[in-house]
Amino acid sequence: MQKYLSENNLKALLDRLIADGKRVVAPRMDAGTPLYGPLANSGGMVMDKLPRRSAKETFFPVCEDIMTYGKEGQKVNLTDIDPSTFPETVLVGVRPCDAAAIPVLDAVFSWDYKDEFFLERRRKTTIVGLACTKADDACFCTAVGLSPADPKGSDLFLTPLEGGGYACETFTEKGEQLINNHTVLFTEPNGSQPLPPAEPQTEKFDLKKVKKWLDEHFEDPAWDSIAVRCVGCGACAFLCPACHCFDIVDEGTEKAGKRRKNWDACGFWKFTHHASGHNPRDLQPKRYRNRIMHKFKYYDDKFGQSLCSGCGRCIRFCPVGIDIAAIVEEISKK
């Protein structure tokens, strides 16, 4: 289904959704930093900035409770978290790189054991993507086979138009539902041209070739030169739309507290450290190698997809200037 949505009607849509009790999550300023977060009203939305962190936290929060416990004498009572209480959510203004990573994460959270914390939020969330009209020199979505106008992962996709407003296209029933529930706000396409999409200045990687090299070069002198300067801060993993490693920790006392699932990162020394003192990934290059391997080989081996959508956040915010796009490009030319 194709429709036109004016800027004012987009705001009206969000305000209606909020009035209907839906949680509306969109890019907004948070103490000076653009982040995806719940809106109090449509006025808070910031459409022209790529949020600092990706949209994955809508489904996989930085920290979330998975149960609470309380002790009475020798007995312990557990309180479950009921995912059916998670709110119906509309996630708006999601960049193609962020939206594309979400279905990639479905694979790990739904294979074998089902993580209902992630999956129930997925079921209850409608994703409204937004085409990018500007890129910076860290963007490389085109290099991993996506594009600034790729609707992958979006239920409804908005493309900014020359004369203002958005061309709307639906890709799922959820997207159609959103339009059907608010038909007065959507009008027929008015024939105006889309704003020219952003043009990231990167060539497309041959990811098959990259994977083949990774298949054969777990041991290679290149790993040291690639990653010896990595300081293991974990920023890349925390900002990444596809990194999904987590920790499970108890917060509280022996008497009462909660168990939580918190983001973690394979760049951290402690990530694989055994209680005995042994650490299979004892050096930073081994940890960075795992990051590249997981993204471009291991996940592909298991689920047939790679764990990178080219958002460029890990490049923009790496404190020591590690550039994953340059690394992968170099590997693809080996």
Binding site: I66, M67, Y69, K71, Q74, K75, V76, L78, T79, D80, I81, D82, P83, V108, F109, W111, D112, Y113, K114, D115, E116, F117, F218, E219, H244, C245, F246, D247, I248, V249, D250, G252, T253, E254, K255, G257, R259, K261, D264, C266, F271, T272, H273, H274, A275, S276, H278, P280, R281, K286, N290, M293, H294, K297, Y298, D301, K302
Partner: protein, 281 residues
């Protein structure tokens, strides 16, 4: 209301029935599930592991150390070396802890029927084999000769001392126990030497035999060549890998060795499978 089908991270509650000190820092806990349906329905196979929690400290990963043939309770065995294991060590009989599992694959015990078995273990790595040892001893007529080569740094560091005695005395098991040089007291009646050396000296026949090896990385490293020398192929040798884990469910992303997830594809592997992995364990 707790829904274990919906919340895969939710543990079952279990009561500590018995606390046994195996060594000065290794402890066994015998646990009984508080929910009767879980107690009766908890089915596992030798080699599987679980996530054990001390509420307020968190979860730790250990094998289920008791045999699936022994119903009613399960056992775990751990060395108190970290926050969670120290908290588990503070638990007393009657206290409540959490158990999630069973997880992972298991020893293909049916494939071992009719064959001789050689167990090779070092130190705290006996519990992952002890589940299988008792499983086999409870089904004794299904197996040929059973040899157990077990060693630790010192006499004090040998776990399951009562059971070593029992295995030694029962007549249908060949137990070879050893301690590292200098680890023996004056009354020590076993061997003195490192496990790989004593295994070579014991020289079990590879014919129709399966070897099951578990120990610290250094012991495994020197044991595999000995088995090779004795004629064992890599398909005849099994081990269980231990890696730091959190979820145990193939999601949290830390236990992988290359593209192999120890929590899902393991923890039981043949030596052939281990040798195919990148050297990152």
């Amino acid at each position: 209301m707790c829904d274990h089908n919906k919340n895969i991270y939710l543990p079952h509650l279990a009561t500590v029935e018995e606390v046994i000190d195996e060594t000065p820092d290794v402890r066994t806990l015998r646990l009984v599930f508080q929910d009767e349906a879980i107690r009766d329905g908890f089915a596992f196979r030798a080699g599987q592991f679980a996530e054990y929690s001390a509420f307020g400290a968190g979860e730790s990963t250990f094998c289920i150390a008791s045999s699936p043939t022994r119903k009613g309770s399960i056992e775990c065995c751990f060395r108190a070396v970290g926050r969670v294991t120290e908290a588990l060590r503070r638990l007393e009989p009657g206290d409540t802890m959490g158990v999630r599992g069973p997880y992972g694959n298991s020893f293909p015990i049916e494939e071992f029927f009719g064959r001789n078995l050689v167990f090779v273990a070092g130190g705290i790595a006996l519990p992952p084999l002890r589940t299988l040892i008792w499983n086999c001893l409870d089904w004794r007529d299904k197996f040929g000769d059973i040899t157990i080569v077990y060693g630790a740094r010192t006499e004090a560091d040998l776990v399951y001392k009562r059971e070593l005695q029992e295995w030694q005395e029962r007549g249908d098991v060949r137990l070879v126990k050893t301690v590292d040089p200098g680890g023996n007291g004056m009354a020590w009646d076993g061997k003195v030497g490192f496990v790989p050396t004593i295994l070579e000296e014991t020289a079990p026949s590879e014919e129709n035999t399966i070897a099951l090896v578990c120990g610290p990385p250094i012991m495994i490293k020197f044991t595999l060549p000995v088995l090779e020398k004795l004629g064992f192929t890599d398909e005849q040798v099994y081990t269980t890998l231990e890696n730091r884990m959190k979820c145990g469910l193939g999601k949290c992303g830390r236990c992988n060795v290359g593209n192999v997830y120890v929590c899902k594809d393991g923890p039981v592997f043949t030596a052939k499978q281990v040798k195919a992995m990148p050297a990152e364990f």
